[in-house]
């Protein structure tokens, strides 16, 4: 192991895919870290939008929720939630949306709804939130999830948000004009949909990871692209920026515990 964790690598790899011109619909957790690392390193003019209505936020600490006061305080402006979903997301103004989930399949469809049957779930997950429309209305989708057999499954219990559906031109057939998931960033490798079949394929492997590890951690027989590169390791700046914001965040969220 080198001097960074797999989660750090995942976050930094995701941040690199973002540019100054991006308008990002940010989710909580890894996406929020990735987007803010991009903003604090190579993409200072990136626009970050959280579904709580905050547009152009520049949080100093990462929010715990999608609507922490920090997001509003540092935003260019804040709109109502109906406006956010109508004018900005459905309006086609978002270039890149971030999603994650409990389960993903080979065509980058996601499940965050239930494990087991919908009516009698074994595990009731939080549900889709903004995901179904983020998946279809953003220009493209990045997905961040740690690679594991439990998460990368052969068949989803429930399609919360559609990625490439049954693969191939399924999105087109449904009249969707956006690209859908173009990149899945995991803690040990990066996947991209095959240009034709749309099946997720390994295109880049993080430092110190073997192909065997990837195969063993995926719930379907995962394919490797013809050319697979080594993911460049985090730079000193990237790592330091990530660790600084994580440290600030941890400190900020550990207030005094109080009863209501």
């Amino acid at each position: 192991m080198s001097d960074f964790t797999p989660t750090e690598m995942m976050t930094i790899a995701a941040s690199r895919a973002l540019t100054n011109d991006d308008v990002c619909f940010v989710g909580i957790g890894a996406p929020s870290a990735a987007c803010n690392i991009a903003r604090l390193t190579h993409a200072p003019d990136i626009t970050l939008i959280y579904e709580s209505g905050t547009v152009g936020t520049k949080p100093d600490v990462l929010p715990l929720s999608i609507g922490d006061g920090e997001l509003c305080d540092t935003a260019l402006f804040t709109v109502s939630v109906p406006e956010m979903f109508r004018y900005w997301l459905q309006g086609g103004r978002i270039t890149t949306g971030f999603l994650g989930g409990a389960q993903i399949d080979r065509f980058a469809n996601l499940n965050t709804t239930v494990v087991g049957p919908y009516d009698h779930p074994k595990v009731r997950l939080p549900g889709g939130g903004g995901a179904p429309e983020i998946a279809s209305n953003c220009g493209q989708i990045f997905i961040t999830m740690a690679l594991s057999k439990r998460g990368f499954v052969d068949k989803l219990n429930f399609i919360t948000s559609m990625g490439h559906g049954e693969g191939g031109n399924h999105r087109e057939r449904l009249g969707i004009k956006t690209k859908g998931p173009t990149r899945v960033i995991t803690d040990i490798c990066m996947l991209e949909p095959d240009p034709v079949t749309k099946e997720l394929t390994v295109v880049s492997i993080h430092q110190g990871v073997t192909r065997q590890q990837i195969i063993e951690n995926c719930g379907w027989p995962i394919k490797f692209a013809e050319t697979v590169i080594d993911t460049p390791v985090p730079t000193e700046t990237e790592l330091q920026t990530l660790r600084d914001i994580n440290a600030r965040t941890k400190k900020a969220h550990q207030g005094t515990k109080e009863a209501a």
Binding site: I28, G29, E51, S52, G53, T54, P63, L64, S65, I66, G67, D68, G69, L71, C72, T78, S80, V81, P82, M84, F85, R86, L89, Q90, N109, T113, Y118, D119, P121, K122, V123, R124, L125, P126, G127, G128, G129, G130, A131, P132, E133, A135, S136, F158, I159, T160, S161, M162, G165, H170, L174, G175, H253, Q254, G255, T256, K257, E258, A259, A260
Partner: protein, 282 residues
């Protein structure tokens, strides 16, 4: 005209057993004090509506106040599961919970349609999503000009909407600011509405002519409850207690610790107890 009253009276007059109730708040301005009063008064068979049911709805579900819930994301933001919600859905404890599940976009549009007095909302949504297979309240509508097919959901028109806002003036005009969520729509779409506020002031003084204001004549009851959004927050008054949200995970995981917490912090408490949280203002 809104009636300026006490929280106990506002809840007892406007929330009835069996009502469809929206207590809205998108992370910010969640009406915890009012929700606790609903629990304290033993309201029953409520059908709850909220985009992001969080701890407050976990409390309502765990105490058995709810017969059902319409929602789009039911979790403890950034922390994990709502254990009482899961226990109700997975094990029917303390009673079965009927659920009507949507996406955020559909819920936001449905509130918007309710405020606009439309029977339904339409959206470019739900494409390829399995919710359409399990929720009969997701239908379709065809554009009469282009032939495009859009998703349709019924407008949300609660019996009563409860929100928390920053301040009101003595006539009952209400100001919201910051992350305003769907609260304006939820109030305008409802038959009755209760607004708790951090403070009642002589002059509302909105910072902009375009500030988010609910006029007194569009609100049923206004109640001053300083700190009433804790552990959520009130922009400019006190911050979100992320620590409490983290702590809730442990409290709610177990039925006994949950019930003990409810007994101590809701049943034996009063609305005025929230005021201590407001004192932390910068």
């Amino acid at each position: 005209m809104a009636r300026l009253t006490s929280l106990a009276e506002a809840i007892s007059e406007n929330v009835h057993d069996g009502d469809t109730v929206a207590m809205e708040g998108f992370t910010h301005l969640i009406p915890y004090a009012a929700g606790h009063e609903v629990i304290r008064q033993g309201k029953k068979d409520l059908f709850l509506i909220r985009m992001t049911p969080d701890i407050l709805y976990d409390q309502l579900i765990g105490t058995g106040a709810a017969r059902g819930m319409k929602f789009s994301w039911g979790g403890n933001p950034g922390v994990g599961s709502l254990h009482r919600f899961r226990d109700a859905v997975e094990n029917q404890w303390p009673r079965p919970l009927e659920i009507e599940e949507h996406s955020h976009a559909a819920m936001a549009n449905a509130y918007e349609a309710g405020a606009a007095n439309l029977p339904f909302a339409m959206l470019r949504g739900y494409i390829g999503a399995d919710l359409t297979k399990v929720n009969p309240n997701i239908k379709q509508v065809t554009c009469p000009f282009t032939g495009e097919v859009l998703a349709a959901v019924p407008a949300i028109r609660p019996d009563v909407t409860i929100i928390h806002a920053l301040r009101a003036d003595r006539k009952g005009n209400v100001l919201l600011e910051g992350i305003v969520g769907v609260q304006k729509e939820a109030v305008l779409g409802a038959k009755r509405s209760i607004v708790t506020v951090e403070e009642i002031v002589n002059e509302l003084n909105p910072p902009s002519p375009n500030s988010v204001v609910l006029p007194s004549w569009a609100v049923t009851a206004v109640v001053e409850v300083p700190g009433g959004a804790f552990p959520s927050y009130a922009q400019g008054y006190y911050p979100r207690s992320n620590a409490f949200y983290i702590a809730w995970d442990e409290i709610a995981r177990d039925r006994d610790t949950f019930q003990a917490w409810i007994e101590e912090n809701i049943m034996k408490a009063r609305p005025e107890d929230f005021a201590k949280h407001a004192k932390k203002a910068a």
